[in-house]
Amino acid sequence: MSLWRQLRRGLRVLTRRTEADQELADEVQHYVDLTTADYVARGLEPAAARRAAQLEVGNMTAVREHVRSYGWENAVWMLLADLRFALRRLRANPGFTVVSVLTLALGIGATTAIFSAVNPILLASLPYPNAERLVLVADRGADGGPRDATFGTYGELRVRSRSFQSLAAVDRWQSSLTATSEPERLQGQRVSESYFRTLGVTPAVGRDFDSDDDRVGGPRVVILSDRLLQRRFGGDRSLVGRRIMLDDDEYLVIGVMPPRFSNVIAPSADIWAPLQEQATAEFNSREWGHHYRIVGRLQRASSAARASGEIRMIARAPLPEFPRPMWANMSDGMLVQPLQDAIATDAKPMLFAICGAVLVLLAIVCVNVTNLLVARGAQRRGEFAMRIALGAGRGRLVQQVLTETVVLALVGGLLGLEVAAIGVRALIALSPAGLPRVDAMGLNGPVFAFALVVTTLIGLTMGLVPALGATRAGLHDDLQQSSRRTAGGRGIARSALVVTEVALALVLLVGAGLLMRSLQRLFAVAPGFNAPHLLTMQVIEPGHAYHSDTARARYYEQALESVSHVPGVISAAVTSQLPLSDDLDGYGYEFQSTPSVKPGEDGSALRYVVTPGYFATMGIPLRRGRLFDESDVRGGPEAILISESLARRKFGDQNPIGQRVRFGPETASDRPWDVVVGVVGDVKQESLAFGQTAAFYVPMGRWWWVDNVQSLVVRTSGDPAAMAPSVKRAVWSVDANQPIERIVTMDALIAKTASQRRFALVIIETFAFAALLLAALGIYGVLAGRVTERTREIGVRSALGATRGNILGLIVRQGMSLTLLGVLIGLVGAMAATRGIMTLLFGVSRLDPITYIGVVALLAGVAMIACWLPAWRAARVDPAITLRAE
């Protein structure tokens, strides 16, 4: 009741301030009148009585102030007054205001944009109920890192583990939507029936998978994403219960996921089907391959560490009903990672580097605006001294100054949101493939809150330096504004700020420089083939149109034939996997001359099933022996090619030609030995940065099966991208029902492998450029201010005979010594800070001297220009005018 009363009253006073004042004045007047009447009644002359009454009542201003100081509304009122004053001051200095606001908008905008990208990946919990209990369970790879698990392991864990409330296995799945106007390759997942339940989501329409769907030989059912329903089926929800054609088979649509469902494990997945798999003791089956991801929801009382411990126990105590092959025996334990960490692992180093860079930029922005504020504070010392003399408390002044800087920051922050909106759009457009949760980037509640907090903090910290400086004790000196000829102590603060700025800019520039050199090095890496003029595309034979492998092989041969007649095509070939395209398919191998002691000891080698023209088309060099010819395809001895590094590893300097090898999914002894007929150059398969892997090349038609997804590589005489439509038409002239995907030039694929580094580079480069500009502005601002302050001194110097060169040197020297100091500090900082981007570097030391020298030279050059302008103005000071002005 009392609170309500306070509130109501406060509001009334606040909204009707003058009325409240008037009431008080009336009350006082009434008091004075009655007192006067009283004195008159006691016999005083009316005039004397009035004087006496006035005297008795005294100075009512103080009373009014006192009365006003009650209640919360007074604080608001003071704040409003401060705000009005601050806005007036900012309007009165448009130059200062515009520069500061723009600088702040840049800094706050950049920081906010980066936060909005980083928040969903690193901070915000995943969009599932109790997402903190979701984990990804993976096998431990040879390097200690995660490796996809096998279905057998999933099956065993599901039965034996107690740490999980539920477990789900997921496999990648692509399928082609056929029997529609244009065949389309869909990205999807095959999932165990528990998948959506484990995540904690249910379809918006229709039903979830159940155990009946997920048995071996179960029905063909799918759940679609809302995105796919909108895109291909016009959002028609009655599709649920109807059938669609996938890979020439009928699938019943049983559900559609909600529009807001975000599938973080495979963000591009649009369609889900049940796994319908069963682990068997037959280890050569698909279920024992490392291609499943296991998602788990921990029990309420469990934790990732506890689950991991339990799995180790399970591994140590094998049960006869759960046979395990060598490669899936869990003997190293398994990795149980929070799902959020797991999906962010790859992007983390890049994100941290970018966060660091944006914080450095923000610091520079703050330093720059503080610099401007300090300069202005110096001009305002007179004003502050006057107000203190008039009785303003120091706290009151500090509050006033802080209000000003916070207002400044808020205006900058408001504009910064605009910058952030542009930044987020740019980030999404530039974001490298594989960056998780891109769908969740954007300006939302948490981002606005972040921006507000950052802005307020900036406003307060920025204001503190000038506020305390400007209201320092001993201000009465400043009342004599004339004593301005000494540009003493406060110069040090500004110099320190400039030094900081230069140092910070250097750190950013070094980071950008190192990344730039890394990219250069990366692109200088030979991929092992001749990339220019190569066009590639995935040609897919999805279904049952070609029932036998021979028919399928014929289809590819015909397509190849058709493509080779397209004008501008020099040569063409088909391969089961394409370098630098995320294809990764490996199998175990065994040489007859050096039999493996343990199975899998040699690891696996990449499998390329190719048509004979592959090497010529790609430009992969032959090192020894011969390439494939038609006889290899049509029959004859089982010829196989191996890569250079595999040859070196197994045979050293010996001739590997004629060696007999078994390679493939079944190294069973019933398989005849293949014969190595040639050695070809190494090819980068995974990425330019990644080390070499052993590889086998098998002629198409001689492998166990003919892959139904293959890559067509085409060497063209002209621009490869321009050839895409005619090559596509040529393929479709053989069969128009087969989808063609991933049409891309080899050059573009190479660029894509560096996309994370390039992303980091573009951002850090942008920041570094901004930092350079701000540092230059800072140096210029300080020197320009100093020249103005020292005009008289400079006048005297030139009157005493200093040449223009002397004056020029004096000012430039001053600026450059600040720069030098900043550079020295910055170098130390950069050496420390570049630790953070080490994992992003390639072929360049983080202490790369060329980068450091280049950056220092660049910074020095820009600083020189920033020094030159004020120095030049100083040198033109006319001694006669300055001296006369005194």
């Binding site: 008080l24 006082v28 009655l34 100075n59 009365v67």
Partner: protein
């Protein structure tokens, strides 16, 4: 005439105002006069302090105020005690009695 201290004892102004208003609603000047009269001139209320105190008490919810016509047809702000004001007066009176008797005992005590 020797200058006599007519200041209200520190901390008692609120109580005096509340007590005065417990008799009848009054405007500021009336309160000052009443305090002065009843104390026979021992206490003289400073108008500044009085107005500030009235604002404070009203804000605390112990007084209500309203503009009314006086007998000589002028507008004046009349204050009156609220229910919680009455309670407050009791509290302050009891507190004052406790302190005053303590002071009295101290003064009476023989060395």
């Amino acid at each position: 005439m020797a200058e006599q201290n007519t200041d209200v004892i520190q901390g008692t102004l609120d109580m005096l105002i509340l007590k005065t208003l417990s008799l009848q609603p009054m405007h500021g000047f009336g309160i000052a006069r009443r305090v002065e009269q009843i104390s026979r001139g021992v206490f003289k209320v400073n108008p500044g302090s009085l107005l500030v105190a009235l604002q404070r008490l009203e804000r605390a919810g112990w007084l209500d105020s309203a503009w009314r016509q006086t007998e000589n047809a002028r507008r004046a702000k009349f204050y009156e005690l609220t229910r919680s004001g009455k309670k407050q007066l009791d509290v302050e009176t009891a507190e004052w009695a406790r302190r005053a008797s303590a002071v009295a005992r101290l003064l009476k005590a023989e060395a």
